[in-house]
Symmetry: C2
Subunit: 307 residues, 2 copies
């Protein structure tokens, strides 16, 4: 089935999801990382989060980071947690905004001290901020394939959140997030089958590798027609220090597999590996991504006999 796929869109979320749980890194270094990713061919980069600096010190100075990002072809995404964040993001010039709503109310309460219903009300507030109508929105539905608090036991609550979110912002894209790495090929198939029935248009996946399934899930989703993925270089993300936490699907692992499959990503793997190689110095710890350690593939003529 992948024979028909020629292009996949990857959004690298390293400067946001990759760095948010770690020790703070300077504004200049965060902007430099975002620009390096763009230079490596990433057309979409989630560069900042307009959260409160008290809550997430590593994301402080989002507006300063944003000011250092060049205009041009790169789409710079800014995560906003609420209307206040949305106002700050729009004031800084952000034109592409991600908002997270969790399918797990328990996770939502723990993470942002709001139930899912309250988070959806918050989404409406964000959409009502002056200037918001001019922005592109990506609604990231977290815990979309199961919850660590066991309150997402089927696709049903995920579909409900997607439907409600699209009622609030009909033109938004939707990204299903496997926040704690509980997705499997079958769970993805089950959620996509239900969503297909609802004819959701622009759908992406945000995968974490908590149980080593991220790349297999991406491959499976690709076969099911998903052409948009969130990843982080070096597989950063989550907390590398918390037992059981897992980083994002590594950008370079996905690029390596896709390009080998003949699917174009527009991304320079060597440049990406150089960025991955710079991350231990930036973050102060090793990265979990495996291609980052192993390097690119040796040559192999994998044309099929029929080609």
């Amino acid at each position: 089935m992948t024979d028909q796929v020629t292009t996949v869109s990857i959004r690298d979320v390293t400067p946001r999801d990759g760095l948010q749980a770690g020790s703070p890194v300077s504004v200049a270094a965060r902007a430099e990382l975002a620009v390096a990713l763009a230079d490596a061919g990433l057309a979409h980069v989630e560069a900042v989060s307009f959260v409160s600096a008290e809550a997430v010190p590593s994301m402080a100075g989002a507006d300063e980071v944003f000011r250092l990002l060049p205009g041009g072809r790169t789409v710079w995404w800014a995560l906003v947690p609420n209307a206040r964040g949305a106002r700050a993001a729009l004031a800084a010039g952000a034109g592409s905004v991600t908002v997270t709503v969790s399918a797990s109310s328990a996770y939502s309460e723990k993470n942002v001290r709001r139930t899912t219903v309250e988070a959806l009300a918050g989404l409406a507030e964000i959409a009502g901020v002056p200037g918001a109508s001019g922005a592109a929105f990506d609604i990231v539905v977290s815990c979309a394939f199961g919850s660590p608090f066991d309150d997402v036991r089927s696709p049903a609550p995920v579909i409900e959140v997607v439907e409600e979110a699209l009622r609030v912002i009909p033109e938004a894209r939707i990204t299903l997030a496997d926040t704690t790495g509980t997705a499997t090929p079958r769970r993805i198939a089950a959620v996509l089958a239900e969503l297909d029935a609802k004819a959701t248009s622009d759908l992406g996946l945000h995968l974490h590798d908590t149980r080593g399934t991220a790349l297999a899930n991406a491959l499976w989703a690709l076969e099911q027609g998903i052409l948009r993925f969130d990843t982080a270089t070096g597989g950063l993300g989550g907390s590398p220090f918390a037992p059981g936490a897992g980083g994002n699907l590594a950008t370079e692992d996905l690029v390596l597999m896709l390009e080998d499959l003949g699917v174009s990503t527009g991304i320079d793997l060597d440049a990406l590996l150089r960025i991955a190689g710079s991350l231990p110095a930036l973050t102060g710890h090793a990265v979990p991504g495996r291609t980052a350690l192993a390097g690119p593939l040796p040559t192999f003529d994998s044309r099929l006999p029929s080609e």
Copy 2:
């Protein structure tokens, strides 16, 4: 396509591939590990290697380990490097023997100081050892999806080794090994397509996670009809201390994905995770397997709407 697959056979190679590159572990602990794996439901366990104790100290005392393994339903595999090893294995009572021949002559020379042609001649010597005709053979073709020395640049040398090996031992099963983690879905498809044309019967895969691709490769191979995999609990294997080396596909990661897909493995995931949890104490280092750290999945009803 996986809807048609109901059972997959997994051979756990932890006591051999998982421990061979580490500090030596006692004979009793190695036997205990092998038995624990069998008790968790592994019907096939590669328990020992009859290599020279000087060359690989961690594998010394293979015959002693073998004597501690109970008879019954478990198939205990013994790796043998040459005729001398085969004689020792058969004398110890091994009835199932793995022999490795590398598709990469450069790797073969570095690993066992023999070219591929010499290794194939060695295979004939092994087959000629008295009693060998009564044993089951699995010929593991290493570097089957590319070589770190860049001398396996297409499926051709792999097919040649398989064909020659089957000329020597026609009833042998063949296991294609991704020794240094260079396999990708496409490379696997290319090799399988060539082998299909040769109508090889019993084909398995031995995958390493050097570039994070092991589980995606397994999923892809499963879709192509491969029903037999080598894995190691905790993702042990290779050298955890050498930059770029990657462990085996983790048994528990594969079991988790397969069981979630509705494919039966006969393996108790909880028991497997307990074994994985015991490995850091046994080996003296953390294991790379991710489910080993994260634990099993929360509940999720992933029946498809049509079911």
